[in-house]
């Protein structure tokens, strides 16, 4: 038996990526980002890593689009391909109809990456002016914009300082500023708030949102702090193992992934919970750490009718009664576990252990 017969899945893995027929590509200049079967493979043979495996992405003009995924899912690789620093193995991508990686596409683009690095001899102000000039602005305009952005991001005082000596938060702000300097049509922000404290993160996210609205910039943003992304974005794409798991709007997502749970916040919650349980129409009833009663019911109208009586009986006053909103975090875990099994998030650890045991076995064979 040949190797290929023994390991058909390996053969499939090592096969050359199929190319996309030109007819299948319909480029729309009004769409901010379009990708058609975009792929990026690293390494060869046994070391082949399919970082991005044929994704079809669409980011509409004017929207703030979230890009989520576990570590190593291919978020940064995708973003770097869109920015033109990584060349795709296969597939095509377009920024407002311009092929990615070309000056024409980059002219419409502003990019900020996580943990940005700066030149050691250039002050923050000069850096912004230089970046503006590189993006195609005249020097006088670049200077004006640099001052403007430094003011918006509360960095005017630090303009003369070298960015290499900045705190992580300041560096992140500067990276965002340089991305938006030339008022691009779309900004790609890759984990721009990584490493920031909650206060700085909150401020930066709000500033980005405001700037996006004022400048009418589409934003394609990735991040790990999902509560923050949830506030920022209108649509989200989840990428897992280099493939797109889900693309949806936040509203649709809440509908689709709704658990049917309700939250009741009131005084005297213990007695109220007992009475709700005694109704016999509630299931999975429990109280969370904030003394909020969470329950599920298929007869919610009946519960709603009975609730005033229950509250009155227990001398309790109602503070809040609403369907429990699903968070992006829950959807994220849900999507991943539905598609790739519950243990997927721990796959890195599993793979590491596997590798270790394989090494140990090889060592044992040699020793024998």
């Amino acid at each position: 038996m040949t190797y290929q017969e023994n390991f058909p899945e390996k053969q499939q893995q090592f096969a050359a990526p199929p190319t996309i027929a030109e007819e299948e590509i319909e480029v729309d200049e009004s769409i901010a980002i379009q990708t058609f079967g975009l792929k990026k493979y690293f390494g060869r043979g046994y070391n082949l890593v399919k970082a991005v495996d044929g994704i079809n992405l669409e980011v509409k003009a004017g929207e703030i689009h979230g890009f989520l995924g576990p570590n190593g899912a291919g978020k940064t690789t995708t973003m770097l391909m869109l920015a033109g620093t990584l060349r795709p193995t296969a597939g095509k991508g377009f920024i407002f109809g311009k092929p990615i990686g070309t000056p024409a596409a980059n002219k419409l683009l502003g990019v900020a990456i996580a943990n940005p690095q700066f030149w050691k001899t250039m002050s923050a102000y000069k850096y912004l002016v230089y970046m503006g000039q590189l993006a195609g602005l005249r020097k006088s305009l670049a200077k004006e914009r640099a001052k403007e952005f430094m003011h918006i991001l509360e960095m005017t005082k630090h303009g003369h300082r070298l960015p290499v000596a900045f705190s992580t938060g300041m560096k992140a702000k500067l990276a965002v500023a340089q991305a938006l300097m030339a008022h691009p049509k779309i900004a790609i922000l890759d984990e721009s708030t990584a490493g920031l404290d909650p206060e700085s993160r909150f401020k930066l996210v709000n500033t980005i949102k405001e700037l996006a609205q004022i400048l009418n910039v589409s934003i394609f943003v990735s991040g790990h702090i999902l509560t923050e992304i949830e506030k920022l974005v209108s649509r989200v794409t989840i990428i897992v193992k280099g493939k797109i798991g889900l693309t949806t709007t936040i509203r649709e997502m809440r509908k689709e992934f709704s658990t049917g749970q309700f939250a009741l916040e009131c005084t005297n919650p213990q007695q109220v919970m007992q009475d709700l349980f005694n109704l016999g129409v509630t299931s999975q009833i429990f109280m969370d750490h904030n003394d909020v009663i969470i329950f599920q019911s298929e007869f919610i109208d009946y519960v709603y009718a009975q609730l005033p009586e229950i509250l009155r009986r227990n001398g309790s006053s109602l503070m809040r009664f609403a369907p429990l909103e699903v968070t992006l975090e829950e959807v994220f875990i849900n999507v991943i576990s539905k598609r790739y099994g519950a243990d997927f998030l721990f796959e890195e650890e599993r793979l590491f252990e596997e590798r270790l045991s394989r090494k140990a076995r090889r060592g044992l064979k040699k020793w024998r």
Partner: protein, 347 residues
């Protein structure tokens, strides 16, 4: 009878000023490609004091020591006849300009600058910002290269000028000698530009294919050793094989000195025996005059100038060497640009 009036010709009156304005084409939008901005940054960055001061100091040290030693040996040259003064100053200046100012020192500084074109940007993590701007990758490289080229040409001009001034000052020769020295300064400067351009492209290519600056520096050192010292070992250790097996083709020092003499001969340079001896010893350009050289040196008559001129060891034509050198560098430039266009750069 009805009167028939002739048809009135419609005359449109347009003022001359407006006509001129109409003819004027709308101003074209400035074509932007970022070359000037990258060039400017690289050029100014390379003009740091940390780089300029050592370069100028090292440019002076070698001519200073060399001239001081020679003054002790040859005595007061300023009192000799003018032709002799010119021959001595021009020949010695030419030799150590080739060996040091347009040689080892230039290679060292060009190497240090060129090996960091792309690799330092990648290592610093700043390359990613450049690539996300609407500039071609080739523009980034060429902008950096041009910045380096202009910077090094200016620095080399002053380096050679200071070296010549130092030599003339120590030898205490007349101003006419300095003026003649300035004439021979031109071919040396042209040769320096060639070296700056070629080293920039050779080591710039290394900076594209290799991320580590150390490798570039080591390769540069290796090239310096090969050019300025390996030839002597080859010619002394295996003289019988040198011509038989065409080892001179690999002798970079020999080929470079051939090009250098080609530049000089264009300006009517006449070498004195000591120059020939030194060039022959280090680079094999003239018949090697190892051992007793007194008969050659004695033939130098202080009153009448040069009496012996050996012919150059022309194993190959200097034009062939020049074409090969330029071809290699152009090939590396094209290859480097192709590699850079395809290269994946991540933070």
């Amino acid at each position: 009878m009805s009167e028939i009036s002739p048809p009135i010709e419609k005359i449109e009156f347009i003022p001359v000023e407006l006509l001129e304005k109409k003819k004027k084409k709308p101003k074209k939008e400035r074509r932007y490609n970022g070359l000037g901005i990258i060039f400017q940054k690289t050029f100014l960055e390379l003009f740091s004091l940390k780089r300029v001061i050592p370069y100028i100091l090292l440019s002076v040290i070698f001519p200073f020591i060399f001239s001081a030693i020679l003054t002790g040996t040859l005595g007061n040259i300023g009192v000799m006849n003018l032709d002799y003064q010119i021959d001595i100053v021009v020949n010695y200046f030419t030799f150590y300009a080739f060996f040091w100012n347009a040689g080892i020192l230039l290679w060292l500084f060009c190497g240090l600058s060129a090996t960091t074109f792309i690799s330092s940007e990648i290592n610093q993590g700043t390359m990613i910002f450049l690539l996300t701007k609407p500039i071609r990758r080739s523009t980034i490289y060429i902008g950096k290269y041009l910045g380096y080229l202009v910077n090094m040409i200016i620095m080399q001009f002053f380096s050679l000028l200071i070296a010549l001034t130092t030599t003339c000052t120590i030898f205490r020769v007349s101003r006419k000698v300095f003026a003649t020295g300035m004439y021979y300064f031109i071919p040396i400067f042209l040769f320096s530009i060639l070296i700056i351009a070629c080293v920039g492209l050779i080591l710039g290519f290394l900076s594209i294919i290799n991320k580590r600056v150390v490798v570039g520096v080591l390769v540069n050192m290796l090239l310096i050793i090969t050019i300025y010292f390996l030839g002597i070992i080859l010619r002394l250790a295996i003289p019988q094989f040198y011509t038989t097996y065409h080892l001179y083709l690999l002798d970079l020092g020999y080929n470079l000195s051939l090009i250098f003499l080609f530049f000089l001969s264009g300006f009517g340079f006449q070498p004195i025996p000591t120059f020939q001896k030194n060039m022959g010893l280090f680079f094999g350009t003239y018949p090697t005059m190892l051992g007793d050289t007194s008969k050659y040196l004695d033939s130098l008559d202080p009153e009448n100038g040069i009496t012996i001129i050996s012919s150059v060891n022309s194993y190959i034509s200097p034009i062939v060497s020049l074409i090969v050198l330029v071809s290699i560098t152009v090939f590396l430039l094209i290859l480097g640009l192709i590699i850079l266009e395809r290269k994946d750069i991540s933070p």
